[in-house]
């Protein structure tokens, strides 16, 4: 039953470009896909019990790494993208090693500082490489050419859409594998009570760093995709404020569950792009209110709401 619904969803995603050939629709779906990957990475850090405000800075590292490799070193996108993921993950490993020894608000503060630091560094240092405050423009779109057989040019939105959908599926499969493994169980245990985990002789620090590195792989992936999809990146794109909407996506969907961020991102971004666009600041205000209300009244997120409602009904 479960697999049938997965297959149905995939078929639907596959046929959407045939049903609607509206450019705008496909464009929004691509952005939703990129944000789903990003929200998944944010969720991976929340899963070890920490809120990382620098997650969009890590997305920025992925975006800049990928772009610099493609534009300055003339590497192919298909090599630059995995390398960008690795670079992001390695940077997060170093930062995690320094900062994950601190918990809660202390960690949050470091990530806040780190996000600011990245913005300042990218705007002021290595201007020749990173383009300074105006950032990098005309980032080329990827393409595949294998002999005369396969010729796919991803400058078409529909082709990019399929690329993003397949990478979203890849992200979910990998993170679900991790979640179901022994390591994933330790992550959940750390989130629920790190003292308890330490008490049975597991080094929480080591697993927290690992969780952070895994999450940041996908932050790098979303950054690389964002850069090549949108075609222009600036340091401001990855500044601290850009992490707030994704926090709302994850919280609304349900922290810890792999599908939570997927549902949250899709629901809120659809709502925002098709209904709320014209409200400007009110849209952001609404996200803030949604975060507070969901945390206060439905901390498990919408993904667990039907189950909770069901069990409550059975009890009464």
């Amino acid at each position: 039953m479960k697999y049938i619904s997965y297959a149905g969803l995939l078929l639907l995603l596959f046929f959407i470009p045939f049903i609607s050939r509206q450019e705008y629709m496909i464009h929004i779906l691509c952005l939703i896909g990129i944000n789903v990957i990003f929200a998944c990475s944010l969720n991976a850090i929340l899963n070890i019990g920490e809120l990382n405000l620098a997650q969009s800075a890590f997305m920025g590292i992925g975006a800049y790494a990928s772009t610099v490799m493609v534009m300055r070193l003339h590497l192919s996108f298909w090599i630059a993208m995995p390398l960008a993921m690795l670079v992001t993950s390695i940077v997060s490993l170093l930062i995690g090693f320094l900062t994950l020894r601190f918990k809660g608000a202390y960690f949050l503060l470091f990530t806040f500082l780190f996000a600011e630091l990245m913005r300042v560094l990218l705007s002021n240092f290595g201007v020749g490489l990173f383009g300074g405050i105006p950032g990098l423009t005309n980032i080329p779109k990827p393409s595949i050419h294998i002999g005369n057989l396969v010729n796919v040019d991803f400058s078409s939105k529909v082709a990019f859409y399929y690329l993003i959908v397949s990478l979203v599926v890849f992200t979910i499969i990998v993170l679900r594998r991790v979640d179901k493994s022994r390591i994933g169980m330790i992550f959940t245990a750390i989130r629920q009570s790190d003292v308890l985990v330490e008490s049975i002789g597991i080094s929480t620090m080591k697993f927290k760093i690992l969780g952070c590195a895994i999450g940041c792989l996908f932050a790098g992936l979303s950054g690389s995709l964002y850069a090549h999809f949108v075609g222009i990146i600036t340091p401001g794109d990855f500044a601290i404020h850009s992490v707030f909407a994704p926090i709302a996506y994850v919280v609304v969907g349900g922290i810890g569950n792999v599908f939570g961020p997927v549902i949250g991102t899709a629901a809120l971004m659809m709502l925002s792009n098709f209904f709320l666009r014209q409200f400007g600041f009110f849209e952001l205000l609404l996200y803030g209110i949604i975060i507070v209300l969901i945390i206060r009244f439905m901390p498990e997120g919408i993904i667990n709401a039907p189950r909770l409602l069901f069990s409550r009904m059975r009890k009464s």
């Binding site: 470091f110 600011e116 926090i247």
Partner: protein
Amino acid sequence: MDATILAQGALNGVMLGLSYALVALGLSLIFGIMRIVNFAHGEMFMLGGYITYYLFGVYGINYFATLMTAVFIIGLLGMILEKAIFRPLTNRPEVALTSLIAAVGLAWVFQMLAVIFFGEQDKDIPTVFKGIIRLGGLMITWERFAAILIGIGLVLLLNLFLLKTKFGKAIRAVAEDKEAAALQGIQVARISSLSFGIGSGLAAAAGAIIAPIFIVSPSMGGEVILKAFLVVILGGMGSIPGAMLGGLVLGFLESYGGLFFSVPVMSVITFILIILILIVRPQGLLGRE
């Protein structure tokens, strides 16, 4: 570099440091009682600034009356937030994470409300205390001198309140050990509401003191909460002398750092410095183990 510039820098450092310390004290107080970090605390500072702008700047009400009103209104707001949002969260698992997310969300809500109701532009408040004091070659504006005096006065008042009054003693008892305090008949819920109110009021006071010297803007809370965090980390969570020391260190760092380094270099230096301090003394300079 001549002595006047250095002395001027020192005075600016003291003034900035005191305002950071006031915000940090509230943050520290709330953490001490409820074990949550109120990321929206900076927005209380921002709202204090806006109340000053409207009451004093626009309607010309007496400055000290404005200051008191700001403390009172924002203190009340803090108590409402505690009751409506934070206290229910403390009864649930994963409170550290959920309260942090709720506070970040709240900070955002207040910032957006400020943009919508007060506008994005910076607001300028007329000078409260005009004139200049001359000491040899040194020139201090009355405005900054008064800010320092009011700041010191507020810290002394808080200290007196915590050390001498019944409520102050109860607050310290709850911060020390919640269960033991409850066993003594202290109503923990009332104390946490009270400290949330006092903490928020202190932030609003800092906003009302700083606003006439600089400008008021919707983003000022987000900037100051960062500084307040640094102060708390430097000084140690829950320590009043620590917050004062941390505030002064940060104030001096900023006022002298600006003389020698550019902004990007400063932010790199701050980041590295904070990590180093925390690695050597995780409990802060004056904090206890």
